[in-house]
Subunit: 885 residues, 2 copies
């Protein structure tokens, strides 16, 4: 067996080898192969990092042997020796994983310098200042990164020397000053670590490699991977590369450039540079870099060379590139290239233009856009310039994206009233409850002090596309005095004062901040059209109101996948009738109360049918337990008792009777229909009467609507439940149709959200025209934790790798996905063309959409503002499948 | 195609045809074939009943044609004509389903009589009194059963006539009196129903058949089937049989007999009879019947004939028979035979003796015993004679069988204290909570005013084998005044007064009632030995204390399948340490508190290991959410705060922090170990230290115990959880073993109770030495309803046939069973010899035990007192499988 290869020179690699060479290493290799002037070097593979961590921080000795071989090759190549006292070869040591983790891991420059070779370098370059500056930088970086000495220790010495010399900038220090600095740096190293700064370059190199490996598991790197959901990587590669210097004089310099504008996507050469500087100096921001176009005048030859390289590299990678370059004594070197990060707007524009330029196919272009990113394009945004000057007063969770400017109000009623007067309001609540729904609808934005990303406020706001900042713990709300206080700052905001919310980052600003509207046309529209040509999965929306339905349709929704009828029960006068129904002592009483609700429900459905003319409208019959419609606070109970003219004791007894230990596992969904069938009777009557009305010449709008109601029964666990309920539903519908001598194309189906239903889906499919996976509840029941309670441990679960990602955010494809696969297989085994959809919040998550495509779903359904995301994700799923086949 | 056969004469059927002829019809046919003197007749099949109900109460005309044919045959056979005015053939019409439903459906006698034939019968028999009495009985029965007239209407007339005549008994009425009665009966029929009593016997017959079919769906028949869990029957058959009369004089009579004593099982001829009487008269209890042995002297020939028939029939059926007979003018007729109902004691004795007599194999005999029935043999019972004279004061639910006599106490503390003094106490509580555990252990019996069959009191009491009457709503408890009041009776019982509970029927008696101890020896032991020879499924017990473990071992348990360690946390001083742990602000504080618990836990395990010497002991690590260990009532919180010397506000804040919306779906089970690993660390340390101690020469008992701890991790949902926890557990164990230089045969496994775990069991099996299905939670999560909350709708669910039986009582084999099948298949796919058990309450339910056998389980585990039931059910499962193969 040949020896395992642990180290690759840039000549040996290519861009496909990211897994083992890391992104930086693979791209350096690729550029070398393209004939681009890259300082030579080699890469230690990610596998060595993996072995290092698995084996108690020791990697195979063969790896070090291979490093020595490659180093010797590099010496030959450069005509210099590592550690040569006269003309030393200097190298950089940089990390680089398969996924970009900018700034998270460590880098050491100028390796190879010591007391001797620093003198040699000074002589050789004729630039002692440069040589000693390079050496003191090495000690500082090495001391910090490898030896773990706080940077501040070195900074303090530097400041001290500058003070003594009376100079302001590092660059004002003379060679002698730098020598003094080196002496004191080395002293500090000895003082803190009890050892001399290593003079053996090989020793420096070995320690530097280990330090880079260690940095893979430093806290900020781990957190970065967690936050960015970077999984399955085995470690970082280490790139060892000959140093080039941008700080050798006015013929030298360094810079970064983008092949297109990363903000706007415009096809223009973009970037900045500094002459006589190192990369650090650009970052440090002491001198202001110049726009890259200025190089055109300063050095037209180099400029043209750079432009040509950029074009060549972009054409080669067929994507916008983010590059680093150094000019050393008039010679251009490229230090790095990678696909450039870009704003959502730029991503869309670049994708379209690359296709128009013939560089990408539509399929390739669509894969380059991150579906999740589109969210940012669909909402109002705070103007970036205005944002920088705005007075930030607090920060909460970015619960629902967008921007909102308005006057503060503290009750849903106030929000509703002020909105009726045409005012823009921000509704501020401790936390919202279903009773606040009117106010939430009326508000431009919602701010809560409590609750997480899946709190009531967050979920409802995302559904409505309203900007929301949730769980802003720093605000103290005094509803009585109609004011809020920012606890940490003592700032007081009174009712009527203006604030601005940024739901995309959770920030709250005092006063009005300028916002801009989203744009749905142009390149965005082009991209959306392409997705529709490619995708096979339908995309519907979750919408409870005609307004939501209209918004979603504008975003391309092809029907409603979930209309939650319970939200309709909370509005205005309806809640009274609902409560009357709950408090009724017999079926007659319930029916009387339900009769009051019927006209409201019918109006609701008429609105939805109109908005979705020609598309299917899936209506879920009542789902929540009845106690959700009754108050829990003592005072509210007395108020209600008075209002309903019942005895408070009676009301309390009813509330106590309806109390549940585990409401998630209680008397709700179709279970209500088994015990109180009259509730669904009323809803079905409303649906079919509405359908009949709009399918005729509508008395309101004069037109005929093509109506396709799909009645969905929630929380089915057994085929028999569905059989019993369906029989009753069909009877009501057929009776109404016969009486009207009319036909309606209706369907009756079920949610699959109870694990028992998933594993007996063959029996259930016999009773169902369609399945819609309620993945929220299926996750809660299947995993055995409720969304409300899991907050206490889910973070820990994700950080320990038990779940790759919060399973309420992206479908747990392995576990809950297995329940879904079983259900799909069993369901289709008895009904091969069974219509299958998803209506949990996962329907708008790109990874979950891809899962649904792979499992043969008919459609996904998501909140209106996620419809474009789902459309793109659905197209990407098709393309990915083709690519991997 | 030949015509469908709807009607069978007794000559055409046999005992295997119960499904279509019903039990009565099939047995009448069988006896006819045996040459036993059965009045001839025929049976309309259950299929006709089914068609009747499916088709709007109309059955095929062919069925009626076939009835006519069989009736003609019967006429030829009997040499009489139906409706003949001179010598009429009279028939009975009786229901009879495949399962016995005694008294639930209707019967009509003497059909064929009318104004004319009654006169004929009077002349023919020379007994006008008999003839007119038969006719008035027909009108009364027909009027009630077929025409739906309240029996009271006829009784009133009868009483009226008797009063007028000044007689006391029906039998004192003369023929003329009876004629008057007939006149007034017919008048009443006309008055109420507006029609004449039908004179056409064929019309009578047709209406009677319909009435029997209708009675299949009367309320009491439906309820009976529900209560007795009789499922899958299509209807009742109708038996039409020539009448024989026991009331023709002193040479006539009627009786019932058993081939063995149904109370004791003794092989003696048993029964009772009345001369000159009809069946009704025996039931009515006006005259006292004589023991059947008296017939030996009264009519030795008939007696011998009866004894011979009984022997013949029992030998034929190879089971104890319950028979009805009639003597008509000195001739013996058998009207019915069926397997006799018997007490548990009789069932055991008869089974053993039938085997000893060579009539049954052991396998056949075991199948004849209802496993569930054994429960009655395992507990103390109230002496039946004493019970009849005892003063019953209330009735609740029979929550845990057995009998208990003791003095009333109202608090767990009082129960504990009094028991320490050697007194027998009955603990009376509104409802029990985990904190009452000590008192519950100390009490002889438990009585609660609230809670159902699955309340805390019921579940814990059954587990301990302590008699419990739960949900006795009629008692009003005044803990302060230390007394209870029986609301309906006003009876007051004070602390210290004696009461007696019967946990088998839920009755409560005032004072001490005599009880008797169960017997485990003799025939019972024989039966148990047979089960062990046959069964292949292991039977373990759920036991949390050494006492429970000892009891279970006496009942034949082969190890512990579930030791719930949380119960240990509630006892005495421990709860303090537990609370200290919960209130600790950091890991050090928690560890300090846990260190206090360690010695207690170790003692617990030592006791269990001793009791189960040589058998496996499965210990489940802490499962419930931490808030269960903290009080919820305001007063208790203040008390605790004082006791623990913490601020009440701090305590309240902690309780609020731990509050969960859905505790079933919250932070519990292995989730606690992911966030607070130190809890399991302590438990595992205690287990392994205990194991090491008892496997040496135990300092306490001097002997060496063979110890096999099996550590069980609850609520695993993902393989990764188990991997993380197992790693830590193994580390602790191996460290302890190394330090002790010793070996212990231990296993680490998991509960399968989360649906996600079931469907990813292949991944989980890689980490597990065993699976134990926690079917309580698996049912709750799989079906999506909690046991506490489902009470509100589960009854309705069972009555609408959505579940055949409460899924918490007997495993839902179709749905939850499918999750189990998936888990077993996936688990064994990676570990073919994976040990698989069940430890939910279903482990003691016979049908569920059979399921576990079929699915290849290694063992079942159940509460100590259900171990014999599980042993029998496990043997029966093997036998049934062989039989059906």
């Amino acid at each position: 067996m040949s020896e395992k290869k642990y180290v690759y020179s840039f000549q040996e690699g290519n861009k496909e080898m990211k897994e083992i060479l890391g992104g930086k290493g693979a791209n350096l290799a690729e550029m070398s192969a393209l004939g681009i002037n890259v300082p030579p070097g080699f890469t230690i593979t990610t596998e060595v990092c993996d072995l290092y961590h698995q084996n108690n921080k020791v990697y195979p000795s063969e790896a070090l042997e291979q490093v020595d071989e490659k180093l010797a090759e590099l010496e030959r190549n450069m005509g210099k020796k590592f550690g040569d006292p006269v003309d030393p070869l200097l190298v950089s040591v940089r990390s680089g994983a398969a996924s970009s983790m900018p700034g998270m891991m460590d880098t050491i420059l100028n390796l190879g310098l010591n007391d001797q070779s620093a003198l040699g370098l000074a002589q050789k370059t004729g630039n002692p200042r440069f040589a000693f500056d390079s050496y003191r930088r090495l000690i500082q970086m090495f001391g910090n990164v490898v030896l773990g000495i706080d940077s501040a220790e070195f900074e303090e010495i530097l400041e001290n020397v500058k003070d003594t010399k009376g100079v302001q900038f590092d660059t004002d220090l003379t060679a002698d000053d730098l020598k003094e600095l080196i002496r004191r740096y080395k002293e500090k190293v000895l003082e803190i670590k009890g050892l001399d700064f290593p003079q053996d370059p090989k020793e420096q190199l070995k320690l530097a490699i280990n330090a880079v490996f260690d940095s893979w598991n430093n806290y900020r790197a781990i957190r970065y991977r967690e936050i960015n959901n970077i999984r399955g990587l085995i470690g970082t590669a280490v790139n060892i590369q000959a140093m080039v210097f941008g700080n050798l004089g006015e013929e030298s310099g360094t810079g970064v450039c983008f092949t297109r504008n990363p903000s706007t996507g415009e096809n223009e050469f973009y970037g900045e540079y500094l002459m006589n500087a190192q990369g650090e100096d650009v970052v440090a921001g002491i001198r202001t870099p110049q726009p890259v176009n200025a190089l055109k005048e300063q050095n037209p030859v180099i400029y043209q060379e750079l432009v040509d390289i950029c074009k060549k590299v972009e054409d080669h990678y067929r994507d916008m590139q983010d590059m680093e370059f150094t000019i050393q004594n008039g010679r251009l070197f490229i230090l790095q290239t990678r696909n450039g990060k870009r704003t959502a707007a730029a991503a869309v524009r670049i994708a379209v233009e690359l296709v128009n330029e013939g560089k990408l196919t539509r399929e390739e272009a669509l894969l380059k856009i991150e579906a999740e990113q589109l969210d940012k394009l669909l909402h109002k945004q705070i103007d970036p310039v205005a944002k920088q000057q705005a007075e930030e007063i607090a920060q909460g969770l970015p619960a629902s994206p967008g921007a909102a400017v308005g006057q503060v109000v503290f009750t849903a009623q106030e929000a509703y009233d002020k909105a009726q007067q045409g005012l823009d309001v921000i509704l501020v609540r401790l936390e919202t409850s279903p009773e606040d729904i009117d106010g939430m609808h009326s508000a431009k934005g919602i701010l809560t002090a409590r609750g997480g990303m899946t709190s009531h406020a967050a979920v409802v706001a995302r559904g409505m596309g309203t900007c929301c900042v949730a769980g802003c713990a720093d605000i103290d709300i005094n509803e009585k005095n109609k004011q809020l206080t920012i606890k940490s700052k003592g700032v007081v905001v009174k009712e009527g004062d203006f604030i601005t919310l940024d739901g995309s980052d959770g920030r709250v600003y005092l006063g009005k901040v300028t916002t801009r509207d989203p744009e749905m046309s142009g390149d965005f529209a082009t991209i959306m059209n392409w997705t529709d040509e490619i995708r096979t999965l339908g995309v519907r929306t979750n919408a409870d109101t005609p307004h939501d339905a209209q918004v979603a349709r504008k975003f391309g929704a092809e029907g409603i996948g979930l209309c939650r009828t319970e939200h309709m029960f909370f509005e205005g006068d309806r809640i009274k009738a609902v409560r009357e129904m709950i408090l009724a002592v017999d079926i007659e009483g319930r029916q009387k109360a339900l009769a009051k609700l019927l006209p409201y429900q019918k109006e609701d459905f008429i609105g939805l049918f109109h908005a979705m003319d020609g598309f299917g409208v899936t209506i879920r019959l009542l789902d929540p337990p009845l106690h959700e419609f009754l108050p829990t606070e003592e005072k509210d109970i007395y108020d209600l008792a008075r209002e309903m003219e019942v005895d408070a004791g009676t009301l309390k007894a009813k509330i106590a009777e309806l109390h549940e230990f585990n409401p998630m596992l209680g008397h709700r969904g179709c279970r209500l229909a088994i015990t109180y069938p009259e509730i669904y009777d009323m809803q079905v009557t409303a649906i079919i009467e509405a359908a009949l009305e709009v399918s005729q010449d509508c008395p309101k709008c004069g037109r005929k609507t093509e109506v396709k109601p799909e009645i969905m029964i929630p929380l089915i666990g057994t085929a028999k439940e569905l059989e019993i309920i369906k029989k009753r539903v069909v009877e009501i519908i057929e009776q109404k149709l016969q009486a009207a001598d009319s036909k309606i194309n209706y369907k009756i189906g079920t949610m699959i959200e109870v694990p028992r239903a998933a594993v007996t889906a063959d029996e259930i499919a016999k009773q169902a025209d369609f399945f819609s996976f309620g993945t929220n509840d299926l996750t809660q029941l299947g995993a055995g934790f409720s969304r409300d309670d899991a907050g206490k441990f889910l973070k820990e679960y994700v950080s320990q790798g038990i779940y790759d990602i919060d399973p309420f955010q992206s479908l747990d494809q392995r576990g809950i996905g297995e329940l879904i696969r079983i259900a799909v297989r069993k369901g289709r085994s008895v009904k091969p063309d069974l219509k299958i959809g998803i209506c949990g919040e996962h329907g708008g998550d790109p990874a979950s959409v891809e899962f649904c495509y792979r499992e043969g779903f008919t459609y996904v359904s998501c909140s209106p503002f996620r419809v474009p995301i789902a459309r793109l994700a659905a197209a990407q799923a098709v393309i990915k499948e083709k690519t991997t086949k």
